[in-house]
Structure formats: structure tokens, C-alpha cells
């Protein structure tokens, strides 16, 4: 009884998709495996016949500018994302989030694709790119398609991806324009599982003293990772001041039903921290959005 029987290391997307199709039902895609392997080892996931390892799939290791977007291959290790100048320039929220996932060793194997595919409502990577309006690229026998990231999630730990024929191959993040910026913060507790009590990412565009446009994602704020559009609406077009922030927070607390996680946090604590994080994140993003845009391409 071993946790897998066959292991494949395809080097192209075509090979990977073909493998999935050849072994219908019995194959699973493995990226960094920092979650999946533990689930297999600890019996939370039944042993699998075939693992299709996508860490060496060429197309999924690319990190580059593609026109109006930054493309990040799903197999790019988190450490590379954390230290990438391009990501820092265009998606600072992701830089910050990816630098906090796991530890340094885990980030050398862990990938953004894996972080997102797990569909956890408070995955740091996912939350950060939700706020960045990311699109996900999915590969299947029919070829590549792009769709909004939020269409990927069905429920806690459940993604809309067909595990037997589809692979997340990468992410498209809009390039940052003048007066735009993003950021990510989270609050942990020192005991127990290293999941955030709450995390938050924001992207905003600044027009002088006004918040021209804004996106905010918070985890865990529901069964799936999500943006808090009510808070965004309350802040959009408003001056950056205490009154706006306070309205934004009210809108957030009205629309989000924070839940209690035993031994981690009560809903009330999360509500309180939502206010702390909202101020912290928006403040730092606001300041960043005032700065000049450099040209890293």
C-alpha cells in the first residue's frame, strides 16, 4: 500500500494533458505537493494510482509580461514569485502574500497554482490575486482558456476544475498603471495551525485625494475566497479619510458573516481584526499608489 504507484514528470502541457486523459479517473495532478503529499501521507487523501507532476512543465514555469498582463505560470515556485521584480512592480500584494506562505523551504517547492487549486477560503496567494483581478488559465484537451479567478471556486476545498482532464496552467494579472498599487497583510496567532486568523488584500487606484477605484479580498470571509464588493462600493470615489474607511468597514461587516473557528478565532475577533487590517492595508496601498511607476518589464 503505497501512496502512489506511478509518477510522471511531463515537460510540456500537451504531455501532461495527455497523461490525464490516458489514465481516466486514476491520475491526479501534483504541483509542489506541499499540501497533497501530506494529505496522502496522513491518510486524509486515499492513495492514488498515478501522479502527474507539473513542476517541470515548460509553459507553467514562465513568468513574463504578456501585453497588458503579467503571466505567472502555475508551477513557478513561490520563492521565485516573492523575489521577482516584475511581481513586485505589478502585483505587490502577491509579492507580500507569497513571501508568507509556508516557510522558506516550502516556498521552494510550493506553487501559486497549488495554493489556488486547493480552493481554501483564506489561502494567502489566492486572496492576494483576487484583489488583483486575476484571471486563471486552464489547460485541457480542448486547449487553453482564460477565465475570471472567482469562477474557479465552488466551496471550501472544492474547485470547479475537472481533476481528470484540466490543469491550472497559469495566471494573468493586469499590469499596474500610474497611481495604482496593491498590498497584502494578515494576522496570525502563535498557537495551532499556521492558517491566518484573517488576511486581506487590496488594490486601488488613486486620483489625488480620492480613491478612484478599489478591490478588496478577505479570507476567510465565506465558503470560498472572495472580494467584498460592498466595501469596495462604499469606498470607490470617496476621499481617503477616516469617514470613508469607517463606511467601508461598516459595509464589509454588513456583507460578510465572519465565522468562528474553534481554537483559532471567534467571529467577533475576526470582525475586530477586519477593521484593523482594512485600515492597515488601505493605508499602505494608498501610500504606494502615490508613488511613481517605474518601468520594469
Amino acid at each position: 500500500m503505497t501512496i502512489w504507484n506511478h509518477y510522471y514528470l511531463p515537460s510540456t502541457l500537451d504531455e501532461a494533458i495527455e497523461l490525464l486523459n490516458q489514465t481516466p479517473g486514476s491520475a491526479r495532478v501534483i504541483a509542489g505537493g506541499t499540501d497533497l503529499l501530506l494529505d496522502l501521507q496522513q491518510g486524509r487523501h486515499a492513495p492514488v494510482d498515478t501522479l502527474v507532476d507539473v513542476n517541470q512543465v515548460r509553459e507553467m514555469l514562465v513568468l513574463e509580461m504578456r501585453g497588458t498582463h503579467l503571466f505567472i505560470g502555475a508551477s513557478v515556485p513561490l520563492n521565485q514569485i516573492t523575489t521577482s521584480e516584475l511581481v513586485l512592480e505589478h502585483a505587490q500584494a502577491l509579492s507580500e502574500a507569497s513571501g508568507l506562505i509556508g516557510g522558506p523551504q516550502v516556498r521552494n517547492t510550493g506553487t501559486l497554482g497549488g495554493n489556488v487549486a486547493h480552493a481554501l477560503p483564506a489561502a494567502d496567494g489566492t486572496i492576494s490575486i483576487m484583489a488583483l483581478n486575476a484571471e486563471v488559465e486552464i489547460a485541457s484537451a480542448q486547449g487553453l482558456r482564460r477565465q475570471a479567478l472567482n469562477t474557479l471556486f465552488l466551496g471550501p476545498g472544492k474547485s470547479a476544475l475537472d481533476p481528470h482532464g484540466e490543469i491550472i496552467s497559469g495566471f494573468y494579472l493586469p499590469v499596474r498603471k500610474a497611481n495604482q498599487a496593491s498590498g497584502f497583510s494578515r494576522i496570525m496567532r502563535p498557537q495551532g495551525v499556521a492558517l491566518p486568523v484573517i488576511n486581506m488584500a487590496a488594490w486601488l487606484e488613486r486620483d489625488g485625494d480620492r480613491i478612484q477605484d478599489i478591490r478588496i479580498a478577505v479570507g476567510p470571509s465565506g465558503p470560498i475566497p472572495q472580494r467584498i464588493t460592498a466595501a469596495e462600493d462604499a469606498l470607490r470615489g470617496r476621499p481617503y479619510n477616516e469617514e470613508s474607511l469607517s463606511d467601508g468597514l461598516k459595509a464589509m461587516l454588513n456583507s460578510v458573516k465572519f465565522r468562528t473557528s474553534p481554537q483559532r478565532a471567534t467571529a467577533e475577533y475576526r470582525q475586530k481584526l477586519a477593521g484593523v487590517l482594512l485600515r492597515e492595508v488601505i493605508q499602505k496601498v494608498w501610500q504606494r499608489a502615490g508613488g511613481p511607476v517605474s518601468h520594469v518589464v
Partner: protein, 933 residues
């Protein structure tokens, strides 16, 4: 394409070609197939970092890295590091720096630490402290040598940049230093621990070895009704499945009370989730695991006793024939009633502390095999080898002499490797199969099964006069000793006798109820009960000082135990009471660092929500068993013809540095350099009984035994020379490996040869008996020595989120004499970090007897990122009976930390933490309520 059936990669510069194996991780491939056992598996769940190796120069966790993924890649393990420096005969600067700086303690995490550090230095040749904390965040060290690890990396980086030798640390030598004693001495086994050559039990393999596993009940309380092992027995590859009826000898074991069933038999009671109902030996780990799944057990479930208060209620079912009360422990001195009547101020409060786990990074492992003479050999890293021998022999129904315990290196103990874990099971299986059997716990099993630190409820009531004189102290303790006695009675006795703090109080009454429950057993854990009661009493001392309007330092000084004081148990302290000096030293340092009022809250500039303040706590802790228990240790010293010496004893090296201490003592007595003395530990055939490695006793007790043996051998050599050269013995000197007689210099080795030629062995055995102690309840000396410690903690509390960070610790410790200042530093810093974990991170959670924190991912121990700046001040009030004046320090260094931190939190934001661990949510809640109110 085809699946990966072959792994071709480069390991430490050599091409490797191996067939792929389904399910195999890289750590297994390295350890099992390439024999590279320097890569350690601490948790097997990607949490601890011990398995870190480099792949294409990047550190990864090999325990969760599929071996096949190494295809085509370049792997570097600890064994390959030497060649990197271009010279295989020399250590890499990182290895050298870790040794020089004393960063190596138990050693189990060190390969991972060094590999992670190496990867960092590849990227950042000139790292900052922040870079180091960032890179080593998830490479855990439970000895918590984090500050020395950081200094070692900085020193190595400098050496690598400059090409100069690694700079040694600045270490204050003992004020009582002699030739060797009190000076910096390198840990003898440090080299092998930094190269990966160090052998821990799981690194051993024997021809034909089987893998053993235990079937755990998995229910907290019930009766075993049916057990069917037939399918498991029939599984190909299974060599034996044993149940209670297959035990040839005693069915129960236990260090003090044999109440712990080696296996629960049909009709018998299961008392906790970790109870064993059957054991299996199979050809592979996988088959053994499969066999466990085929065992069918049926239980009648019984109501779960969750806590000691519930356990004491008369209507609660009795778990043991004698009921649920393991022991009612009483301390009585004077009349507390009269005391409270007299007192101007009385304070009372109830505190709670949780169960905590040792989380030593090396999980339990034992290998048993029947040797050619039909004797049972058990290889194990045990804190009490002779107790293992006794318990294994009794289970087999054999005379003790037919069992030999062979100690291996121990990857951390902290009290958690005193009880029997797999030793009896592996011996039973080896006996049944006549093949060597290895039982290795995985982290999950380790967390669920082995004894923990007692959870407690402690009520403290103290009365004082307006001038601060303590006149009365009453404490009531409940200790959760779990399913079996282990060392519960002893632990809770220590908690009780220390429960009114290191103070002289005329009237004391303490009652403790050590209760059986359906939780995992609780036993020895660094601090041995005093960790819990010190938290309670030192919190109350601060509350009392506030009520009195008195400075907390003054209150403590006023009542501190001094020479001539009488303890709670009626012991007159005759020497070595450095408490007041510890208080004064910490006080002076606090004023130096923070001005006249260090305890006042201060906002962090630019961040008004962050508030800092200092807090302080004092403690004492006995050295040695005490309480009337005979406390003795044996050691043997032998001189070899090559002039080297060996000292032998069964005392254990668990990372605390005993090997170094014993080496130094023998070197001192013979006037030789440390490296001329070899130390052999923990082999019941070859080493005399050193007693348990517990109660901070080994430096004192076995130190005295080694010294006694060395002195006896030196005297034998002296008389031989005196006779031969016809000189008075007092004119003979031993200097630098030579005996000086009449102006002549004779090498020590020649003396060994000469003694042998006279038909005498050049060795001497010494059995040291520590000063007799009295049982609790009888006045007189309950202990022969106490260590004292005072610590101050500076914390930073976030008023918005309740988050707490420890910024700085000042620790003053009265150690008697600092035998090895380098090792002492590791003990102080590691002890502080363990105390910090006890305050902030550690919470072993049970839910109706089931273990919630059953993975390291759920039970968090401090990481380098939690490490504050630690200033250690050594105070040396020699104790007359200790070797060169030394007393135990392993535990005292850890005890004041927690209350110092919680007192600091109170000083910063006014929230009193009375239940551990510190809960940031509760702090935030209390602050919000205060604001609203």
C-alpha cells in the same frame, strides 16, 4: 510518455542511478538506500526542517519531496558539505562555527540548520540577523539554541568572506575557574553532529531487521471486548502479531507504580487513546501499517474523565483499583489561618496551565535484538537506561542481566524520554521473531502517546503585612496526571512544595490532588511541576505588590530565601542561595536598559497601538531527586596506555552537555586537556548506573561520581609512584598529561602500563551518594541543593490585535559554579525559549480525551523568529556538596520566563493573563471592553 522508473541524479557530487520506488520520498531514499543518515526526519510533515537538503542549491524539505522528482537534479546533503570547502579533511566554516559557538546541543536538528544556513549564505554572503531569522523560520531547534545558531552563521559568513578562521564567541569564564573547570570547552560529540556522522537510533540498521508498530486503542476510555488479529497474522510479510496474552512476564510497567499495561487484554480497561492492544512486526513499514489496519478491536465505551477536578468528584468512575487520586500531597508549616488573620492584605487568584508536549525533534525509536548468547539488546535513546533494563526484563520474565540497554545519541529529551515507549514492545517482538525489530514512532504517535507536562489548576492565596512581609501562603493544586502514574506523584510534589515561591513565609499550607484522567499520561518535563506553580505564584506576587503599592522587586527582595531561611518544607538553607544577588543583578540591568521605571508602559514611537513594558519573576528549583529518595550515581574512570582516559556512566546526554561536563571534571583531576578524556555513556553492560537523567541532577550527582572515580584512580597512581620512587605522595603532581616525581616527568600512559604490569587494572569505580534527604512532611533537608533564577522580560503588545511579542529577556541564574560556560549559555538561552513557548505558543489541546494537536503543524514550538535578545547573567554561589561548587541548572533557566512575560503583559496593557498560553484574542477583548467601559 512513460512513468519515472529510474532516478538519475547527483548526490554530493556523485552520480547516482536508482530504480524509482512508488511512494518514496527523497529523505527515505537518502537515508535508506544511500545510507546518508545525516538527513534527519523529525516530523515527516514538512514542519520542522530537520530533513532540509539542497536541490540545485535551494533548500527543500526532503521528507515530503518525492524521490523521483530528484531526477536530473543536483542534491547536496550534510555529508557533502565538507567537500564544498575544497578540503575533505576540514570542516566547512559553518560546521566549525556551529561547534565553536556552542550551537550544537542534542544535534538532531543541526544537519537541517546547517543546510538551511548554507543555502542562505549562497544567496547572501553577508546576511543580517533579519535574513537569518527569515531563512531559518521553519528550521526548528527544540534545544532552542537559536541565538547561538544566529551568531554561528554570522561568524561563518565572515570567515567565508574573509578567508580567515572562524572567530570564536566571547564567553565569560567562571569566576571560580580552575585549569579546565569554568573555562570554555567544546562539546566532544559536536563534530559528528555537524557532519551527519552522528548516529541516533533510527540511523541503525541490522541484517534481517523487522519493523514493529503498535495498534493503539484510539478511544479514551472503554473496555476491550473483542480483538481479532487473525487477518493481520495471515498478511504476507508479517512475522508476528502479539497481544496481551503473549507477554511472558509482567503485564504492567511504570517508573514508580507499575500501573501501565504493556498491552490491554480482552476484558481490560483502556484508559487513554494511546493504549496498545496489539503489536506487529513485519518486513517493511508499509506491511506493518497494513497489518494494523487489519486488526479488529471492539470496545465498550465508557464516560470520559476529562480533567482532574471532575476526576476527584465522588460520583466519577474509578480508573484504577485505588481510585482516581494518585496522591494527595500536603505541605504544612505554621498556621495559615493565624497568618491570614494577621495579614494587612490578602490576595487570592486561580490560575490554569495547559498540557504541553516536549516535542523533542527526534521521535521515539528503539531496536531490540536477541544476540548470539540469547540475551536481549535494546538500542534506545533513553534518559534512564537501567530502568529500561528492569522494565524490559520484567516484561520478558527474564533476569535483568539477560537484558542490555545500549544507549544511542538522544535527539532531545526534556523529561520525555524517561518512560518506556517502544522498548518493551520491540523486545517482545524480537523475542517472538528472533529477528531484530525496530519501532520508530512517527510524530503523530509521539504526540498522542508519550507522557506530557501536567495541566494544572492552581489557587494561590497570599497574605502580607503593609511593609510587604509575607505572613501566609495557601495553595491548592489540581494536577492532571492522565491515564497512568508515570512520574506524576513526583512532579506534582515538586509543583506543590514550590507553590509559594522562593520566599521565606512563616505560615504555609499547600494541598495538591494529582488525579488520574483519560488524558495521555503526564510525567517529567523540564521544570517538573515548578513551571506551572511558578507561573501562578509569581503572577500573584505582582498582583500583591500592586495591592500593597509596593515595588515588585522590593517585595521579592524582602521575602527572598537567603542563607539561614527556612523553606516551606522546614529545610534550613545552609549555603548557595544566590536569589538576592540574582534579583539585584537583573534590577541593575533593567535600570541600565530602561531607566528608573522599567515596568511602566511605553508606546513605541510612531506606532501608538504598540506598547512595551518589562515584567519580572523569580523562581527556585531543586537539584536532585530529594524527598528521601536515595540519590546515587556510579562512574568508572580508566587510564589507557596511550595516556587517554575514559569515564563511563549510564547517565544520559540529552543535549544538555553532560559529556562535556564529565570530560572536564576528569581532565581537571588529571591535569590533562579535555580532548584526552573520552566519555562513554548509557550502556548497561559497560557503564555503571548513573541513575535517571532528571531533576537537574547529573552535573551534581554523576559529576561527583566521575570526580570521585578520577580522584581514586589518581590516588592509586600516586601511591604506586610514591612507593616506587620513595617520595611522599603529596610531592607527586599531575600536569599536562605527565606525572611529576622527583623532577622526573612520566607520561600518564606509562603509568597505565606499569599498573597493568603489576596485575592491577588502571581504573577506578566510584559510587557517589548524594547527601541524604528527608521525605515531605518530615522536617529537615528535603533537597540537597536548589538553583535560583530571576528573569525580566520586555514585551510588546499590540493594543488593537492583542498580539504579543517578546523583545528582550534578562536572565540571572545562580548555578553554583559554571563548570562549562559555553554549555551553560546554551542551557540558559534554550531554557528561556522553552519558557517563552510555554507562555506564548504551546497548547496541547484535548477534546474529551482525544488529541486535537496530534501533528506538529497543530502544536507549535518557538522558532528562531520568536527569539528575543537574551542577556544571561551568571551568579555563582557555590554549594558545598556539588562538584567544584556546581548545582543543577537544566530546569531553573526555563521556569521564571513565563511569569516574567505575563507580568510584562500586565504592565504594558493592564490585562492579567491567568490561563496559559497567552491568548491574544482575550487580550484584545479585554482591552476593547476596557475602552468601551
Amino acid at each position: 510518455m512513460t512513468d519515472q522508473t529510474l532516478i538519475e541524479c547527483i548526490v554530493n557530487g556523485k552520480q547516482v542511478r536508482l530504480p524509482a520506488r512508488p511512494g518514496e520520498m527523497l529523505a527515505e531514499m537518502l537515508r535508506e538506500r544511500l545510507g546518508l543518515t545525516g538527513t534527519k526526519i523529525g516530523c515527516n510533515e514538512a514542519e520542522c526542517g530537520a530533513c532540509t537538503v539542497l536541490i540545485d542549491n535551494k533548500p527543500i524539505l526532503s521528507c515530503t519531496f518525492p524521490a523521483v522528482r530528484a531526477q536530473g537534479r543536483n542534491i547536496l546533503t550534510i555529508e557533502g558539505l565538507r567537500q564544498i570547502s575544497g578540503d575533505e579533511d576540514h570542516l566547512h566554516p559553518l560546521q566549525e562555527a556551529f561547534i565553536l559557538h556552542g550551537a550544537v546541543q542534542c544535534g538532531f536538528c543541526i544537519p537541517g540548520q546547517i543546510m538551511t544556513s548554507y543555502a542562505l549564505l549562497l544567496k547572501k554572503p553577508e546576511p543580517t540577523a533579519e535574513d537569518i531569522h527569515h531563512a531559518l523560520k521553519d528550521t526548528l531547534c527544540r534545544c532552542a539554541g537559536y541565538p547561538t545558531i544566529e551568531r554561528a552563521i554570522l561568524a561563518a559568513a565572515e570567515a567565508m568572506r574573509t578567508g580567515q578562521p572562524v572567530q570564536p564567541p566571547q564567553i565569560q569564564e567562571s569566576a571560580r575557574a580552575q585549569k579546565v573547570i569554568g573555562r570554555v570547552e567544546m562539546r566532544p560529540e559536536a563534530v559528528e553532529k555537524t557532519t551527519g556522522a552522528a548516529i541516533y537510533t533510527d540511523d541503525l540498521k541490522f541484517e534481517g531487521m523487522l519493523y514493529g508498530r503498535a495498534k493503539r486503542a484510539g478511544i479514551p476510555h472503554g473496555r476491550l471486548k473483542k480483538l481479532d488479529v487473525s487477518e493481520a497474522r495471515n498478511l504476507p510479510g508479517v512475522w508476528a502479531v502479539l497481544t496481551a496474552e503473549d507477554i511472558p512476564g509482567d503485564h504492567y510497567h511504570g517508573l514508580v507504580i507499575p500501573d501501565w499495561p504493556t498491552m490491554v487484554g480482552i476484558g481490560e480497561r483502556v484508559r487513554y487513546v494511546g493504549d496498545t492492544v496489539a503489536i506487529v512486526a513485519a518486513e517493511t513499514k508499509e506491511i506493518a501499517a497494513e497489518a494494523l489496519d487489519l486488526i479488529e478491536a471492539e470496545y465498550e465505551l465508557l464516560p470520559v474523565i476529562q480533567d482532574p477536578v471532575q476526576a476527584r468528584k465522588p460520583e466519577t468512575e474509578a480508573l484504577h483499583p485505588g481510585g482516581n487520586l494518585l496522591k494527595h500531597i500536603k505541605v504544612r508549616k505554621g498556621s495559615t489561618e493565624a497568618g491570614f488573620e494577621q495579614a494587612d492584605v490578602v490576595m487570592e487568584h486561580v490560575f490554569h496551565t495547559p498540557t504541553t508536549d516536549h516535542a523533542f525533534l527526534e521521535p521515539e525509536c528503539s531496536i531490540a535484538r536477541v544476540n548470539d548468547e540469547g540475551r536481549m539488546e535494546v538500542y534506545v535513546g533513553s534518559q534512564i537506561p537501567y530502568a529500561d533494563r528492569n522494565q524490559v526484563a520484567r516484561a520478558l520474565g527474564w533476569p535483568e542481566e539477560r537484558v542490555r540497554i545500549i544507549g544511542t545519541l538522544i535527539g532531545g529529551g526534556f523529561g520525555g524520554k524517561e518512560d518506556i515507549m517502544g522498548q518493551i514492545h520491540s523486545a517482545l517482538l524480537a523475542n517472538a521473531t528472533q529477528r531484530p525489530v525496530k519501532i520508530l514512532f512517527d510524530r503523530h504517535e509521539s504526540l498522542v502517546v508519550h507522557p506530557k507536562r501536567h495541566a494544572t489548576q492552581i489557587r494561590v492565596k497570599m497574605g502580607a503585612m503593609r511593609d510587604g512581609t509575607l505572613v501566609s501562603a495557601e495553595t491548592e493544586l489540581y494536577g492532571d496526571t492522565g491515564a497512568y502514574a508515570s512520574l506524576g506523584e513526583k512532579v506534582m510534589t515538586r509543583a506543590t512544595t514550590h507553590s509559594s515561591g522562593p520566599y521565606s513565609i512563616a505560615n504555609v499550607k499547600a494541598d495538591c490532588y494529582a488525579m488520574y484522567t483519560n488524558n495521555p499520561p503526564a510525567g517529567a518535563f523540564r521544570g517538573f511541576g515548578v513551571t506551572q506553580s511558578a507561573f501562578a505564584v509569581e503572577s500573584l506576587m505582582d498582583m500583591l505588590a500592586e495591592r500593597l503599592g509596593m515595588d515588585r522587586i522590593e517585595l521579592r527582595k524582602k521575602n527572598a530565601l537567603r542563607v539561614g531561611s527556612i523553606t516551606n518544607t522546614g529545610q534550613v538553607l545552609r549555603d548557595s542561595v544566590g536569589l538576592v544577588e540574582c534579583i539585584e543583578k537583573v534590577e541593575a540591568e533593567l535600570h541600565r536598559l530602561a531607566g528608573p521605571d522599567p515596568f511602566a508602559p511605553r508606546e513605541v514611537e510612531g506606532s501608538p497601538h504598540l506598547v512595551r513594558a518589562w515584567g519580572l519573576a523569580a523562581a527556585y528549583k531543586n537539584t536532585g531527586l530529594g524527598g528521601g529518595a536515595p540519590d546515587k550515581s556510579g562512574a568508572e574512570v580508566e587510564l589507557y596506555p596511550d595516556g587517554t582516559l575514559e569515564v563511563r556512566t549510564s547517565a544520559a546526554e540529552i543535549g544538555q552537555g553532560l559529556v562535556t561536563v564529565l570530560r572536564m571534571i576528569v581532565a581537571e583531576e588529571f591535569g590533562v586537556r579535555g580532548e584526552r578524556v573520552h566519555v562513554l555513556l548509557s550502556d548497561t553492560d559497560l557503564t555503571p548506573d548513573g541513575g535517571p537523567t532528571t531533576a537537574s541532577r547529573q552535573t551534581y550527582v554523576t559529576g561527583n561520581a566521575a570526580r570521585g572515580a578520577a580522584v581514586a584512580l589518581r590516588q592509586a597512581l600516586t601511591s604506586m609512584l610514591a612507593e616506587k620512587y620513595d617520595v611522599p605522595p603529596e610531592q607527586i603532581r599531575f600536569v599536562e598529561g605527565l606525572a611529576q616525581v622527583n623532577g622526573q616527568e612520566i607520561p600518564l600512559g606509562a603509568l597505565a602500563t606499569e599498573m597493568q604490569s603489576e596485575g592491577r587494572a588502571p581504573r577506578s569505580m566510584f559510587e557517589y551518594w548524594a547527601p541524604a534527604t528527608r521525605p515531605l512532611g518530615e522536617e529537615g533537608d528535603m533537597h540537597f541543593a536548589f538553583g535560583f533564577g530571576v528573569q525580566a522580560a520586555e514585551v510588546e503588545v499590540n493594543r488593537l490585535t492583542g498580539e504579543v511579542r517578546v523583545v528582550r529577556i534578562v536572565a540571572a541564574t545562580d548555578v553554583g559554579t559554571a563548570i562549562n560556560p559555553l554549555g551553560l549559555q546554551g542551557q540558559v538561552e534554550g531554557g528561556v525559549m522553552m519558557g517563552l513557548g510555554n507562555a506564548l505558543t504551546e497548547h496541547f489541546i484535548l477534546d474529551e480525551g482525544r488529541v486535537v494537536t496530534d501533528r506538529l503543524a497543530r502544536y507549535r514550538i518557538p522558532s528562531i523568529t520568536h527569539t528575543p535578545e537574551i542577556t544571561s547573567i551568571i551568579v555563582e554561589h557555590a554549594t558545598s556538596g556539588g562538584p567544584y561548587g556546581a548545582k543543577g541548572i537544566g530546569e531553573i533557566v526555563s521556569i521564571p520566563t513565563t511569569p516574567a512575560i505575563t507580568n510584562a503583559i500586565y504592565n504594558a496593557v493592564g490585562v492579567r493573563v491567568d490561563s496559559l498560553p497567552v491568548d491574544q484574542e482575550k487580550i484584545a477583548e479585554a482591552l476593547a471592553a476596557e475602552k468601551a467601559g
